[in-house]
Amino acid sequence: NAGVTQTPKFRILKIGQSMTLQCTQDMNHNYMYWYRQDPGMGLKLIYYSVGAGITDKGEVPNGYNVSRSTTEDFPLRLELAAPSQTSVYFCASRNRDRRNRYQPQHFGDGTRLSIL
């Protein structure tokens, strides 16, 4: 099982460029998440999805867009890259609760993005 796969692992962008961070999971999880981790900080939620066709904003959504056309994929798009978006980005997924017990999130290995 590959789990949660993120590509690319590293990327350098120029200010104003756009790019898409890819995330795919093979566990048939309903829920998927995008986080960013700034240096010396914990993760902050950007967007999440509870199923195909459904997305919602997290704590820090400005400057990002997402889509969820399939259960497996949850790409994150930066339209106009800014230096403040330099961060490590993590994708995560989890199954729906079972017997009212929360199912924990599984994380990808992260994408390190630098905006220069």
Binding site: Y31, Y33, Y35, G40, M41, G42, L43, K44, L45, Y48, V50, D56, G58, E59, V88, F90, A92, R101, Y102, P104, Q105, F107, G108, D109, G110
Partner: protein, 114 residues
């Protein structure tokens, strides 16, 4: 909004010793979950242990255990018989039951000294 505070930016301990990492949180919710995540240099986030707020019994996972004090809003992690592979950043996290937003603390960098 919920806040999670980890007051120890860095800690170090000799191999085989026991270490306790502190975490406090602020919430008005009654039903929630608490987590400890480990982030080694490989960067991957690994769930170490979790606690449901409605459970009075402290969670344990092998060498890892927690001291959950709901009234004090405290959730510390104890690592017994520490190993070199325990060297990592440790993050405490909070989530309201039924919600989707995990709130993380700023982390504690733990170094196990041979």
């Amino acid at each position: 909004a919920q806040t999670v505070t980890q007051s120890q930016p860095e800690m170090s301990v000799q191999e085989a010793e026991t270490v306790t990492l502190s975490c406090t949180y602020d919430t008005s919710e009654n039903n929630y979950y608490l987590f400890w995540y480990k982030q080694p240099p490989s960067r991957q986030m690994i769930l170490v242990i979790r606690q449901e707020a409605y459970k009075q019994q402290n969670a344990t996972e092998n060498r890892f255990s927690v001291n959950f004090q709901k009234a004090a809003k405290s959730f510390s992690l104890k690592i017994s018989d520490s190993q070199l592979g325990d060297t990592a950043m440790y993050f405490c996290a909070f989530m309201k039951q039924g919600a989707n937003n995990l709130f993380f603390g700023t982390g504690t960098r733990l170094t196990i000294i041979p």
